[in-house]
Amino acid sequence: MKTKRPLTPSFINQLDKYLLLNSPVTWTARTHLVIYYAILFSAVLTVLSFIVPTDPRNDSNIFAWISLTALLAAIGFIVWCIFLFRFNVFKRFGEDKPFDALKTFLLYFIAVLFMVAPCYIPPAVESIRANNAFGNDELVNDMNSINLKICQLEYDSLEHSWYGAKYIVRESLTDRFYDSDEETIERSSQNKEYKIIDTASFRQKKTMADSVVKINDSTWHFYTCPNYTFLTNYSLDEYTQSKIFNSVKLFNLVIRDYKTPDFSKTKKELDDLLKKYSSSEFSFLISDIPVDVVGRNGNYNDKIQNRYNLAHINSSFYNIKEKKYRWYEGNESRIKFWLYISLIFSLLVFIYRHTTVKTFFLTILTGIILLILSGLFLAFSHFKEETVYYLILLYYAAFFLIAVSVFGRKTRTVIDGIAINMITFFIAFMPIFATLLYYVIDEKNYIRQNYPNGYTEQRDLHYIIAQLAGFVLLLVLIEPLFKRLFRNWYSKPEQ
């Protein structure tokens, strides 16, 4: 077979020819070519992402990378569609084998998965580069060192005394007063040495105080260490053995038994560390912080921030942390996004391949019109959330009835076609809407979201099951129902 396809090795061309001669359904889906080009594109993108000079300390530029990749993926999708629409076994009334529709859909789904996947490469490479440049514990230790050395160098400027507060604890307060320290106390104790608080405030203060001294059962002294952490920790130690020193730890290490350090050596070590985390690039994070000016009321913390240019260092730590740990959380939603984007596009392609062009676009138009009319109806009827789900289920039931009526018709009509397209597209989402409706109604039994134990976990589990059920339902019904509907409808004569 002669081919003008660029960058394809002979084995791909041989595979292409083999599929053309032996498996037309697979060949027309062009999934093999999509996978090959997606891998090729991913390889180039990966190399480029590694080659292009970027600094992990700088603001992430993955938005630009993802936009570019998404744009190229969109172009790839269009090119794929152009090639895909050239040959169609179904519309040519070719040999109709069992499971062809299921196979076709899965091939489209896999193809779109491969097209969307490269969008995750730039952030992944960025994470790899950040991980290579900075170790997890290294970051924590460096942050601790910076705080420690600043405390050593700035000992004289620092506040050494702990802030103390004395409280008498009562069961309840008779006359509540919200004072300037942002706490609720008994009004009569305002401006007194001992402030009267209730047990709820006591428990809260106890968890937050750095030190607590019990005088007797109802009298307590709370002490708070001055702030010695000049850098924001950004939960850098969330996934590390080493932990970020808090102010108490720094107090114990430096202030409590202060030993005069070798200033020049410590200063040099601090400068080296600050240099390690200084970035010369403009940062969106610090762009609106006036780091160079310390106001008249600026305290020692502000002055130190300004002296060591710590806003930039904070920005670097933030950027590095964002890049290093982005895959530690939120992966579920990333995977869902990937799967749902692929599902939606593969469903659209599947429907387009089984219906007429006119009916396909009329289906989209119908969806838009229904959305507008339903929006107007809901707006004028002071709707509740469940009304939306009732409407969706009602529409689906109506479309389903119209769609199955095609078996009894003698000719093909556009309305039947639209109904078939609609029920095919939305089947994967119906269990989700049904579950949403159930929980919207059920949650009304619990005032102010006072759910019993395990309720939210059970609800979340049900949502996951509903999502899976939608996909499974689509796969199960595609052959016995949707294919039969499309086959019956598309081949019928026109009026």
């Binding site: 077979m1 002669k2 053309l20 001669l21 032996n22 498996s23 037309p24 060949w27 027309t28 050239r86 040959f87 076994v89 040519r92 009334f93 070719g94 040999e95 109709d96 003698k410 000719t411 086959r487 019956n488 598309y490 081949s491 019928k492 004569p493 026109e494 009026q495």
Partner: protein, 382 residues
């Protein structure tokens, strides 16, 4: 051996019509249904076709004739000796169609087609030919009457459209390489692997398309597009082939070639089929069709199979430089009607034959530039 093809091949060899020999040898190989013979015949045809087609009049070498004899022997051994039965393919009874928009109405028409049959549907533009064909092909639903596809039991329309192939007048464009399209068609018809390759090569060679196989749609003329579409449809092996104005885009020679091929193809023992074709090339269609149906204003006004004798008398078309008065004088003694149809005269007579009409013209020194006997032609209804 297939005696008719064997005799035909000998006849063509005698007249040194080697191009037809190639085509009929390919037909013979196809009739055997044996892939290796088909492959051998295709390769043999490809070997000789370029030299035969380029050197008209030149004698091919001795090897050509040796190969023919060898192929004939192999085909003879492989050919099944079964009588070809005529099987009913389609039976349409009183089908009629009215469009919801517009005034056109197709009045009740009945048609039956067996395999091996060619039915020509002729008529002027806008008289219902395409509507009738689309009803037969399952593309339009008739308002009344019924179409029975005899070889299908309880078919849905997907089966029907697999059974009946419809080639519209405006062939939808193909995308990609032409050969890939043919492989695809063979593949969706269940021909896979080597069978697919062999059959595509055979069909390309049979329709003389081999040299255009690697081109795309934009690179071939409309005549070749029709032939490629025909090749594609034939690879899908329909039982009934319906062609709407297949001759519209073809030159005279291509029309003859296609029509001859269609006639041969209906008789393929390996895959006999029925053909319905509409055309305005009346005489060409009449040459190959087993029956011709004339449609006028939505009604079938003549079906040569059923009412051959509906019109009495003989009729000829004559083109001459002589004026009408002279002609009337020539035929004054015979009971003859002369009608001028803009360019030529139609002379009808119940008393004298077409042969006698031309004799009279020649005897009276009338200059005749064109003469055609249309006694049995539907042309008389135009």
């Amino acid at each position: 051996m297939n005696p008719s093809i064997h005799a035909e091949v000998n006849e063509h060899l005698r007249h040194k019509d080697y191009s037809l020999v190639l085509r009929r040898m390919l037909d013979l190989s196809y009739d055997t249904g044996n892939l290796s013979i088909i492959r051998e015949a295709t390769a043999w045809s490809r070997q000789w076709s370029s030299s035969i087609n380029s050197q008209q009049g030149n004698e091919p070498g001795e090897q050509f004739f040796t190969d023919i004899n060898q192929l004939l022997e192999k085909a003879d051994a492989a050919l099944k000796r079964e009588e070809q039965n005529h099987i009913m393919l389609l039976d349409a009874v009183n089908i009629s169609k009215t469009y919801s928009k517009g005034n056109f109405k197709l009045n009740p028409v009945s048609i039956s087609i067996q395999n091996g049959d060619i039915l020509g549907v002729v008529g002027e533009n806008g008289n219902g030919k395409t509507t009738l064909l689309r009803c037969l092909a399952g593309q339009l639903y008739p308002d009344n009457g019924m179409v029975h596809y005899s070889l299908l039991s309880n078919p849905d329309y997907y089966n029907i459209k697999n059974y009946v192939a419809f080639i519209p007048q405006r062939i939808p464009r193909w995308y990609g390489m032409l050969k890939d399209n043919l492989h695809f068609s063979a593949s969706i018809a269940g021909m896979h692997g080597e069978t697919n390759e062999t059959m595509v090569e055979f069909m390309l060679e049979r329709l003389n398309l081999t040299q255009y196989a690697d081109l795309n749609w934009n690179q071939i003329s409309s005549g070749y597009r029709t032939r490629f579409e025909l090749a594609r449809i034939l690879l899908q092996k329909p039982q009934l082939l319906i062609l709407d104005e297949p001759l519209a885009n073809l030159d005279i020679k291509a029309q003859q070639t296609i029509l001859t091929d269609l006639r041969y193809m209906t008789a393929w023992r390996n895959h006999p089929m029925g053909i319905v074709l509409s055309s305005q090339q009346l005489h060409e269609v009449e040459k190959i069709a087993h029956s011709v149906m004339m449609i006028k204003n939505g009604s079938c006004i003549h079906h040569s199979f059923t009412n051959d004798d509906a019109l009495k008398g003989n009729a000829v078309e004559v083109e001459t430089t002589t004026d009408k008065e002279t002609l009337q004088r020539v035929f004054a003694e015979s009971n003859t009607a002369i009608q001028f149809n803009g360019g030529f005269y139609t002379i009808t007579s119940e008393s004298i034959s077409a042969q006698q009409i031309i004799e009279l013209l020649v005897r009276n020194n009338v200059t005749v530039t064109y003469f055609r006997d249309i006694t049995h032609s539907t042309k008389r209804y135009f």
